[in-house]
């Protein structure tokens, strides 16, 4: 799909996310908006997946390790054809499956792992990538992490094992929006130099603009890169990206937009419906 089309999809998804947060009174808006371009690049131009054969053993796997971005992932999966958009009307409703974090895979098509507690998705993704080797399959596994999630020791345990096992069909993308729940990720646990950390753990690490869909597609299409190393992409992003009054304002980790704010956001995004 061409970049202009992907960018249009990204704007639509951002609008849907803002509407959903208002309608369902649910948080994590800033975190969802920061990873939209990454999700769109991955789902529309990178993953070898077929929504009509969602359990194909040789499919590429994507794990939203930063599970609090579920509201973004749910919109992407709907637009990618895993289920009708109308299903999302049940978001947050009693008895439904769409909550603030992805449910177990058996309960929603398109989900590869239930996440929400941080630091779980990368180890599970590593297990899936090792399975590909054991079962002589050639799928890739991509895990999307938040910078705050890199606080978790299990991420670095996993990074070391992936390097020691030379798992080259594994990519970790860090949605590096510089914030975690209650403060800047630099202030909370001194996250930088993030790319150097991944390199020191034996990964091929690169940095990119996490809102440049074409650049993301280019980097992810090069996995495996032939080096025998797993790939880390440090995607520099803006929390709340796409809505000027939410950008880089960490209040939107938990704040819920008003009806007027939804209208203003949609106007900025150029989405009328």
């Amino acid at each position: 799909m061409r970049t202009a089309e992907l960018e249009k999809i990204a704007r639509t998804i951002r609008a849907r996310i803002v509407e959903n947060a208002h309608r369902t009174n649910t948080p994590h808006l800033g975190s969802c908006l920061s990873c939209v371009d990454i999700l769109v690049a991955v789902y529309f131009n990178v993953l070898r997946i077929d929504p009509t054969r969602a359990r194909d053993p040789d499919r590429d796997r994507f794990i939203l390790s930063k599970g609090h971005g579920a509201a973004a992932l749910f919109q992407v999966l709907a637009l990618r054809g895993f289920y009708p958009e109308s299903m999302l009307e049940t978001y947050g409703q009693d008895g439904g499956v769409f909550a603030e974090h992805p449910p177990a895979p058996a309960y929603l098509v398109g989900i590869e792992a239930a996440t929400g507690s941080l630091g779980h998705g990368l180890p599970m993704g590593l297990g899936m990538a090792l399975s590909a080797r054991i079962q002589a399959q050639s799928y890739n596994v991509i895990a999307l992490l938040s910078d705050g999630e890199c606080n978790e020791g299990s991420i670095w345990e996993s990074a070391m094992m992936a390097a020691s096992q030379k798992v080259e069909r594994l990519a970790a993308i860090v949605d590096f929006n510089k914030w975690q729940a209650t403060g800047s990720s630099e202030e909370v646990l001194a996250i930088s130099p993030l790319a150097d950390k991944w390199r020191a753990f034996g990964w091929n690490a690169c940095e990119t603009d996490g809102h440049d869909v074409a650049a993301l597609v280019r980097l992810l299409s090069n996995v495996p890169d032939g080096s025998g190393k797993p790939v880390a992409i440090i995607a520099h992003t803006v929390k709340g990206k796409g809505v000027s009054f939410m950008e880089d304002d960490n209040n939107w980790h938990y704040r819920i937009p008003t009806a007027d704010e939804v209208t203003a956001a949609k106007k900025e995004l150029g989405v009328t419906a």
């Binding site: 058996a106 239930a114 779980h120 180890p123 590593l126 297990g127 090792l130 399975s131 590909a132 299990s154």
Partner: protein
């Protein structure tokens, strides 16, 4: 016990290409045959148990049958959240093996004791909890655990534990095994305490008390059929486990008993006290400290049986 585990996992890994063994940097040499016969399916995951458990869950979601092996506290309490979320929430068929469980490593100090593992893992939805009583039960339990479609925790001892079965028993997860029949009391053992219960029964026999012995290799789900039978039939039922008296097999049976109607036996629980063992000592020392010996079990059970009998026959106690 661990040699029996190594032999059986090697046999299973040889015939079943889905079997993968993950070790937390232990079992040096123990798994050489597995590595040789199941090439590419052994992973030393290092001293990084949280990741190891997540990796196992990821493998299970891709159709493999991972078996995770390390010392009991490190494969349970160390990475409990990974077991809860990655394994149980996903109903991933991962077999978690805790070696050197209970007081096996008494002399290494409380960091290496595991007297809480069954209590904690028993609370998790989807989880099956096994504590095989000897090498034969380990082999049968492992083989059968691979046929389940959900997670299993199996705690085992170290090495040199006595056998409780002379011939191969009929083993079914969720059904206890009658090791010997008896008419006066019932002794229930789980894990390495089953052999202690066999010896306790022998001592009771010398005192004229006929004791039935059950091996409760499955702590969850409980064998409610056998429990209903023995708690109705005998005046005294004793339960022994190398585990705290809080939340383990006796804890589970107590929960079951609380909901049971009608008259039933007195339960005597033998397990470790609600304390850390701050002094060093061998496994035998630790067992003596907590009363987990055949002699103490026989003594306590006999005393309780006599008390029950006198209450039953003493007219003053009746009215």
């Amino acid at each position: 016990m661990r040699n029996a585990f190594a032999d059986e996992i090697t046999r299973l890994g040889t015939i079943d290409p889905r079997v993968v063994l993950l070790s937390g940097d232990i079992g040096n040499k123990l798994f050489d045959k597995f590595k040789d016969r199941a090439k590419g399916r052994f992973f030393n995951c290092g001293v990084a148990e949280a990741n190891m458990m997540g990796v196992a869950a990821g493998m299970a979601l891709c159709g493999l049958r991972p078996v995770v092996y390390t010392i009991a506290p490190f494969t349970t309490t160390r990475c409990f959240e990974q077991i809860r979320v990655d394994v149980c929430y996903h109903k991933a068929p991962v077999i978690i093996v805790g070696t050197g469980s209970g007081l096996s490593y008494a002399d290494l100090g409380p960091t290496h004791h595991s007297c809480e593992d069954m209590a904690i893992l028993r609370t998790l939805p989807e989880m099956t909890v096994l504590a095989p009583g000897d090498s034969t039960e380990i082999r049968l339990a492992l083989c059968q655990a691979l046929t389940l479609d959900g997670p299993v925790y199996m705690r085992i001892g170290k090495k040199g534990e006595p056998a409780i079965h002379q011939k191969e028993p009929n083993f079914r997860i969720g059904r206890s095994i009658t090791i010997q029949h008896g008419t006066n009391v019932c002794l229930i053992g789980t894990g390495v305490m089953s052999s202690v219960m066999v010896r306790a029964a022998k001592i009771l026999g010398e005192r004229g008390v006929s004791a039935r012995v059950e091996s409760f290799h499955t702590v969850k789900p409980l064998d409610q059929v056998t429990l209903a039978e023995v708690f109705s039939k005998y005046p005294v039922v004793a339960v022994a486990e190398e585990h705290g008296r809080i939340g383990g097999l006796a804890g589970g049976i107590s929960e079951w008993l609380a909901a049971k109607d009608g008259p039933c036996a007195k339960l005597i629980a033998f397990g470790t006290d609600d304390t850390f063992m701050h002094e060093i000592g061998s496994q035998e020392y630790a067992r003596r400290k907590f009363g987990l010996t055949a002699e103490n079990v026989a003594e306590q059970v006999h005393a309780r049986l006599l008390a029950a009998r006198s209450k039953h026959t003493d007219p003053a106690a009746v009215g």
